[in-house]
């Protein structure tokens, strides 16, 4: 398996209060292609900060991040935006979608940013939503969808750009157990069938049980890393 993400010696220090907060503290982490990794740990342990740095949404205070051999640590803002568009799919905890666009338009939107043709956009958006069992809600706006349905559209959108991997920060935090189970099953199915790499964070035991690799954090450092 090839290395996809390689973070070496990354730290993130916040100086907002009198005592500096080491949200991520000199961490090394390597993610291989095709992995299905859960970043776990209690609230405040640094999961979001870590994912933001891995996804090029935030700069580390020190250390470096390479994605598929490309160092993104010193990339300029605009290049980083373009890099994210073509390499990373994002699923956030909630409110992922553009409220005034329908489900299918939300998925198409990402491909529009990639300057894909209209036909290709329509076909692929439809396919992905059907794959995420959202075929009957193509023209619904996010406000008309339940939380679990919104998250499935968000996963479809994340897949639409054909990214190298998908980052999901607590994608199930706002979902009931049935929706959580459903979303995780879909994600793991895609991982198994299409070898799409997923890195997601959670503090939900049932979600951790589905992960194939478990990285546990405490106070900004990795305290265990297990594969199964």
């Amino acid at each position: 398996m090839a290395t996809l993400i390689e973070a070496t010696g990354i730290s993130k220090v916040y100086h907002k209060t009198t005592v500096p907060v080491h949200a991520v503290n000199n961490m090394d982490l390597t993610i291989e292609e095709g992995e299905f990794t859960a970043i776990v740990g209690p609230s405040g342990c640094g999961k979001t900060t870590l994912l933001n740095i891995l996804g090029g949404l935030d700069y580390p205070s020190s250390g470096k991040v390479e994605i598929a051999g490309v160092d993104i640590t010193d990339m300029k803002d605009r290049d980083l935006i373009d890099f994210r568009l073509s390499n990373i799919g994002f699923v956030f905890q909630a409110y992922n979608l553009i409220p005034v666009l329908t489900a299918v338009e939300n998925v198409e939107f990402i491909m529009l940013l990639q300057k894909k043709g209209k036909k290709e956009r329509e076909v692929r958006a439809r396919e992905l939503l059907i794959q995420m069992s959202m075929g009957d809600k193509l023209d619904s706006r996010p406000g008309e969808l339940a939380g679990g349905q919104q998250q499935r559209v968000a996963v479809a959108r994340a897949l639409a750009s054909k990214p190298r991997f998908i980052l999901a920060d607590e994608p199930t935090a706002n979902l009931d157990s049935a929706s959580t189970e459903n979303l995780l099953n879909l994600m793991s199915q895609i991982n198994t069938e299409q070898h799409t790499t997923f890195v997601f964070s959670t503090h939900d035991q049932r979600v951790m049980d589905k992960a194939k690799r478990l990285v546990t954090l405490q106070d900004g450092a990795i305290i265990s890393d297990t594969r199964r």
């Binding site: 935006i81 409110y95 005034v100 939107f109 940013l113």
Partner: protein, 405 residues
């Protein structure tokens, strides 16, 4: 899809967007009405003193305007006539011999301005015939005169009475004569009403011992806006040592000045209006950006370039603005057109006073297209300036911070 996105975003908060659009509409309407009335009244003022008095262009012997004496008169020869009458845009040339005279009737005496005119031509320029309130108009080589109503009242003369005029003629000749009063004229401007005497050009040339001489040629032109062009063309075709040619702005500088002053105060009022509306617009644009920080964050995170996001927000602002302006013009146009053709009259008291000056007692509206385009420009420029804020916030935005719950 970017347009769809902007359009739907615009109507996300229907009430707020509607209030913004309607406030722009209201501002445009108010501004158009204000400006239409103002510009309408200027047009009328200019009409009264230029269109119906000086003419838009005048030709004199060089130096006459600074020293208005009979000795600065000149001969309107055929070559000058040809230059003037063949000029594109000149509709009519109206020769005049103007000077002063002391007017007496019985025990009353008063200084007066005498205008020797070609009655037909003069009437085509100034409609003076319509202003006759008693008696009749002058004939081609009439030996009688017309008096302003104020002057006639002061002298206590009636139609048919004979008044004595005394003055100095060409090169110091004595000028004295008896003139029968043919008619009384009511002028809009008191200054004219109290001083003016009309006589036929041949009679004036006889009185001032200035045969074939005139002091000025007033020109009737096709469009006031062509004044400058015609003046410079005429200047290029005449000898500036002999002849001076002036446009109406130079002929009535006090009027131009007072209009400009009034216009300035009107513009200040407009800016105050725009300032008020501008604050409202700014509030909306501010909220539009502020309440969507998270959403903007998601868009940047998934790979939308800042410039694209800025363009969408700018499009939203433009949509509201264009809608407001178009609506404003759509509402003002029929209203102003109605009042242009069916003007509002002053109430009776004021109307009497105004009409005694020979001016129609109405609020004159103007339909000059500039009235509408200027409001549109003003609002668009304001929208562009105000959109700088949301555009700047997108420029400065940090994805992680805007998405933190």
């Amino acid at each position: 899809m970017f347009f769809t996105l902007a359009w739907r975003n615009t109507w996300r908060n229907k009430r707020r967007s509607l209030i913004t659009v309607l406030s722009i509409t209201f501002a445009v309407l108010l501004a158009c009405v204000m400006r239409s009335l103002q510009i309408g009244s200027y047009e009328r003022m200019i009409d009264n003193s230029v269109r119906f008095y000086t003419g838009y262009i005048q030709i004199h012997k060089n130096g006459y305007w600074d020293d208005k004496v009979i000795d600065n008169s000149f001969k309107y020869d055929t070559s000058l006539q040809r230059t003037v009458t063949t000029m594109h845009g000149v509709k009519l040339d109206v020769p005049r011999l103007e000077s002063f005279a002391l007017t007496s009737f019985r025990s009353q005496t008063k200084g007066a301005m005498v205008m020797g005119v070609d009655p037909q031509r003069e009437n085509k320029l100034t409609n003076v015939k319509e202003k006759i309130v008693r008696g009749r108009f002058l004939q081609e080589d009439d030996e009688g005169i017309l008096l302003g109503e104020g002057l006639a009242g002061y002298l206590k003369v009636q139609i048919g009475d004979t008044v004595t005029l005394l003055s100095q003629g060409f090169h110091g000749a004595n000028a004295a004569g008896l003139f029968a009063v043919r008619g009384i004229i009511r002028f809009a401007l008191p200054q004219q009403n109290n001083q003016l005497i009309y006589m036929s050009l041949p009679r004036a040339q006889w009185f001032y011992a200035a045969p074939e001489l005139i002091t000025s040629i007033a020109l009737l032109i096709d469009k006031p806006a062509h004044t400058t062009r015609i003046v410079s063309l005429l200047k290029s075709k005449t000898d500036s040592n002999q002849i001076e040619i002036m446009g109406w702005r130079d002929l009535v500088p006090e009027l131009v000045q007072s209009i400009e002053l009034d216009n300035l105060s009107g513009k200040v009022m407009l800016w105050v209006l725009y300032l008020v509306i501008g604050f409202g617009m700014f509030g909306t644009f501010l909220m539009m950006a502020a309440e969507r920080q998270y959403e903007f964050g998601v868009m940047l995170a998934v790979g939308m370039r800042r410039i694209r996001l800025q363009a969408v927000v700018f499009l939203e602002i433009s949509l509201m603005t264009v809608l407001g302006v178009l609506l404003g013009i759509t509402v003002s146009l029929p209203i102003l057109t109605y009042f242009y053709y069916n003007p509002i009259r002053y109430d009776e008291e004021a109307a009497k006073a105004i009409e005694s000056f020979g001016v129609e007692a109405i609020y004159p509206f103007s339909l000059d297209p500039v009235i509408f385009t200027n409001q549109a420009y003003a609002i668009f420029i304001m929208a562009i300036v105000l959109s700088a804020y949301p555009i700047w916030t997108i420029y400065k935005m940090k994805v992680v911070e805007s998405m933190r719950p």
